[in-house]
Amino acid sequence: MRVSRSSGQEQPGLRARGAFALLALPLTLGACAGGILDPIGPVGNDNAQILIDATLIMLVIVVPTILLAFFIAWRYRASNTKAEYLPYWSYSGRIEAVVWAIPILTIMFIGGVIVIGSYRLDPFRPLPSAVPPLEVEVVSLDWKWLFIYPEQRIATVNQLVIPAGRPVHFRLTSGSVLNTFFVPQLGSMIYTMPGMVSQLHLQADRPALTWGQSAHFSGDGFSDMQFQVRSVAPAEFAAWTQGARGTGAVLDLPTYAQLARQSHRNPPVTFRDVDPRLFQAIAMQRIPPAPGPEPASPEHAGREVTPAGRSH
């Protein structure tokens, strides 16, 4: 049965809703634009700290080097006859030793940061916590994000709600092409790949309204592949979960197939029920990957035409 093109794609009935989403998206995201130097959780904190520390270490070398270069160039300018002219001086063992030692020592230091940091901030490493992590399964599609909460048996599109103070264990895959799950204020990003499951552990320490995106170009609708991220108090999270169980459609296989088709500017929705084996089926590709572009007409030979690509 050929499912008719409806939800998410530009259709007359949905244009009003789409227009609202169009306006709402920038306003919503504008209100909560926090960057990577404004983390709200331990992982993001560590990421940012390492970035800053590495920068400071490098600046200690870089700034004097640049200043030295300009000083030497100015001091030995041709018009300065007071500076000694050493037309045959081109070697000094002592200077060589220093010149090799400075970068080597700096890099040894950075190397330490690299090794320690890579292990400590391994995305697959669980976060130390008294509370067990919340499980969230993530599927990147063209061009929206599907979040499945297997323990709560709900799912959302383009909306991630998590409890503050509790680690979240993400398992991620892609239903179509490569993407990257990235919430700047929570820290580390990770690729989502078809046929594979990657993992990520993040945590928000306090309630906040922030945003996430795909950090890997994935096609025509990529620019709108942002999603709202809300960390809320645990009680509020429980309430939200309950509410979601009461409204919205069921995410069954036909609904998923419809969702998987290419669309962009999907407004946030929730699903009141989802089969907890759905994620595994997508990851193992028992459900085939989402289809590519379905051009409206074959009028442009060799040049795909997709609604997302032509949208202005």
Binding site: N47, I50, V99, G117, V177, D220, R303, G309
Partner: protein, 671 residues
């Protein structure tokens, strides 16, 4: 009959590509018409198109690279302006369908058809002159290399108005670039343009490794070679090692797309991660292919414009070869976030940082080259000092990105975009502009106008920092790359500043165009009378400007480092030139059209493969094969330059040198 090709492949309903295509066709037609009208075809055919002279080929490469720079820069203007306009609800003027082609074309053209031809052009022009020989190891293959690169560039430009270009970014990651998600011809245009020019580049690599290792003039041992030739060697070794990887990977992707194979598909056993590994195993060494000769250019400029030999020559050689080898071991840093695990990530993070050791040593050695010197701030030196500032900061951000947990928050962001432009523009582009100014007199016989050169430098330098500092900031605010429109209105300020930066850079470009025109108009005044306008130290400055087609009347016999400096100081001290040598007839390779024909058939084959017109592809391959066989059948491959001609050219050179000696003696007497 015509595969996927039909009249609807032309973008009748899309004004921007249609107009650009029309302008391009008119420009090409106009140029061809002008050449025909002025009856320049015989000259162009015999002296340039079929030339196997490394100097001519080098100049053609540089011309091609400049065209690529112009087209790539136009794409950049479009990208920055689109992002500045399409913020917080604004829509800009480029749909995603177009914007995605623009940024893909920008990257592809800048790397393959601007930076590579420019760097290879310098390699071509300078290396045999510095080595004291008459041409490269394989002159005809050199011509083939150039024309194959030109063929690739032609295909990319054809995609403007017949079909489309790739919409995947400059490295077409599958599954997005597979036939399922990119069914159009765009990715195929990319694949064949890059594949064809890649074969040309591989030939260049083979050519220059052989030239540097097997063709140096007598007395020039490896450790007496100018440092630029060492960097050419290192770069060419990398080319030979990694361009086959590119060929293989693009071939695999083509097989997936055309025949439904499963190298990189999302299902049935395909492995997209394998593409990432393969393509970056090529991709990272590629940027060192570009930057090593750039470092070589700076070494020449620093030493010449300080009036001193390069400090720590052997150290520089060691650093160059060190970078050459380690560059093959760092590719995974392009996908730290793919989840390879902490051990693998840490190992590649360390190898990436280690490269900074080689680069750091070079920076310090250049500084100590200036120490104790008499630094002249000519235009090449300005570019070099601008490079020190710009590249060191860019390198610093590179080391930051080499730390995996730091990369986890800035990967694929505007911070990354700013970093790699920082090192490519600060490193490669600045070097190319310095080299252009430095070797222009050797190529054409007159210098470039100094004042406009200084203006161009400052506008480029300021424009660069104005364009990319906001992008660093935006990356730290979380902005990712390749966005056709930006949904966070707070970022519009930085995006506008960046667009302003592009405008400033454009003024720099205009200054360079004016510089060229003014220099041509004033070429008598700017004439290089002696062949040695900068008080140079290496052998290319021993020749007149422009150099005769056989380079040296008599192959030099080198007795120390800085071959020409020794000859020059001896002549100045004894106040006379060395005795007139005994001239002998010279054998030079004949010109050959095989390069042009091969590329013509390659273009036809590429176009046919893109549109799946199989019979035409077969004809194209057959034509290329036939061309080779015809070429292989020739009986004459060298011609003799009679001894009178050699003597005449060299005596003119000696007269100019004697005049220079007299002038130096007069200045010495009056000082």
């Amino acid at each position: 009959m015509f595969g996927k090709l039909s009249w609807s492949a032309i973008p009748w309903h899309e004004p921007i590509p249609l107009m650009t295509g029309l302008v391009l066709i008119l420009a090409i037609a106009g140029t061809l018409g002008l050449i025909t009208y002025k009856k320049w075809w015989p000259y162009l055919w015999h002296e340039w198109i079929t030339s196997v002279d490394h100097k001519r080929i080098g100049i053609m490469y540089v011309l091609l690279g400049v065209l690529g720079l112009v087209r790539g820069f136009a794409d950049a203007i479009m990208m920055r302006s689109q992002q500045a306009m399409a913020v917080g609800g604004g829509e800009g003027y480029l749909t995603p369908e177009h914007y995605n082609q623009v940024f893909s074309a920008h990257g592809t053209i800048m790397i393959f058809f601007a930076a590579m031809p420019l760097v290879i052009g310098f390699m071509n022009f300078v290396t045999p002159l510095q080595l004291g020989v008459r041409d490269v190891a394989f002159p005809t293959m050199n011509s083939v290399s150039f024309w194959l690169t030109a063929s690739g560039f032609l295909l990319i430009n054809v995609s403007l108005f017949v079909g489309e270009f790739a919409r995947t970014g400059w490295l077409p990651y599958p599954p997005l670039s597979g036939s399922e998600y990119s069914p159009g011809v765009g990715v195929d245009y990319y694949l064949w343009a890059v594949q064809i020019s890649g074969i040309g580049t591989l030939m260049t690599g083979i050519n220059f490794v052989t030239t540097v290792l097997k063709m140096r003039c007598p007395g020039m041992s490896l450790l007496r070679m100018p440092i630029f030739c060492w960097t050419v060697l290192a770069s060419s070794l990398i080319i030979v090692a990694v361009f086959p990887i590119l060929t293989a990977t693009l071939a695999m992707l083509s097989l997936d797309r055309v025949f439904g194979w499963h190298y990189f598909t999302a299902d049935l056993g395909g492995n997209p991660m394998m593409f990432m590994n393969l393509i970056w195993a090529w991709g990272h060494p590629e940027v060192y292919i570009l930057v090593l000769p750039a470092f070589g250019i700076f070494s020449e400029v620093f030493s010449t414009f300080s009036g001193k030999p390069l400090f720590g020559y052997r150290s520089m050689v060691a650093a160059t070869m060190f970078i050459c080898i380690v560059s093959l071991m760092t590719w995974l840093h392009h996908f730290f976030t793919m989840g390879s695990g902490p051990a693998v990530n840490a190992a590649f993070g360390i190898s990436t940082s280690i490269i900074a050791v080689g680069t750091g040593v070079k920076i310090y050695n250049w500084i100590f080259t200036m120490y104790g010197g008499r630094v002249r701030f000519g235009v090449p030196m300005l570019w070099s000092l601008g490079f020190v500032f710009t590249f060191v900061i860019g390198g610093m951000t590179g080391v930051l990105l080499a730390v995996p947990p730091a990369d986890f928050i800035v990967h694929n962001s505007m911070f990354l975009v700013a970093h790699f432009h920082n090192v490519i523009i600060g490193g490669v582009v600045f070097a190319l502009f310095a080299g252009l100014h430095y070797w222009f007199p050797k190529a054409f016989g007159f210098r470039l106008h100094e004042g406009w050169g200084v203006a161009a430098f400052w506008f480029h330098f300021l424009g660069f920092w104005l364009t990319f500092t906001p992008l660093y900031i935006l990356g730290l605010q979380g902005m990712t790359r390749r966005l056709q429109h930006v949904n966070i209105s707070e970022w519009s300020g930085m995006l506008s500043v960046s667009a302003l930066g592009v405008a400033v850079t454009t003024i720099g470009v205009v200054c360079q165009i004016v510089m060229l025109l003014v220099s041509i108009l004033q070429r008598e005044k700017l004439k290089d009378l002696t062949g040695d306008p900068w008080d140079g130290r290496s052998l290319e400055w021993a020749t007149p400007s422009p150099a005769p087609f056989f380079n040296f009347a008599v192959t030099p016999n080198v007795e120390g480092e800085e071959a020409y400096w020794g000859i020059k100081t001896r002549a100045i001290e004894s106040q006379q030139l060395s005795a007139e040598p005994k001239y002998a007839p010279i054998e030079m390779p004949v010109h050959s059209p095989v390069g042009f024909y091969t590329a013509a058939f390659a273009t036809v084959t590429g176009f046919a493969l893109i549109w799946q017109i199989w019979w035409l592809a077969g004809l194209g391959l057959l034509g290329a094969w036939a061309g080779f066989v015809v070429f292989a059948w020739r009986d004459v491959h060298e011609f003799h330059v009679p001894v009178e001609e050699v003597a005449r050219v060299d005596r003119a050179r000696r007269e100019a040198r004697e005049a220079l000696l007299e002038r130096i003696a007069a200045e010495g007497a009056s000082a």
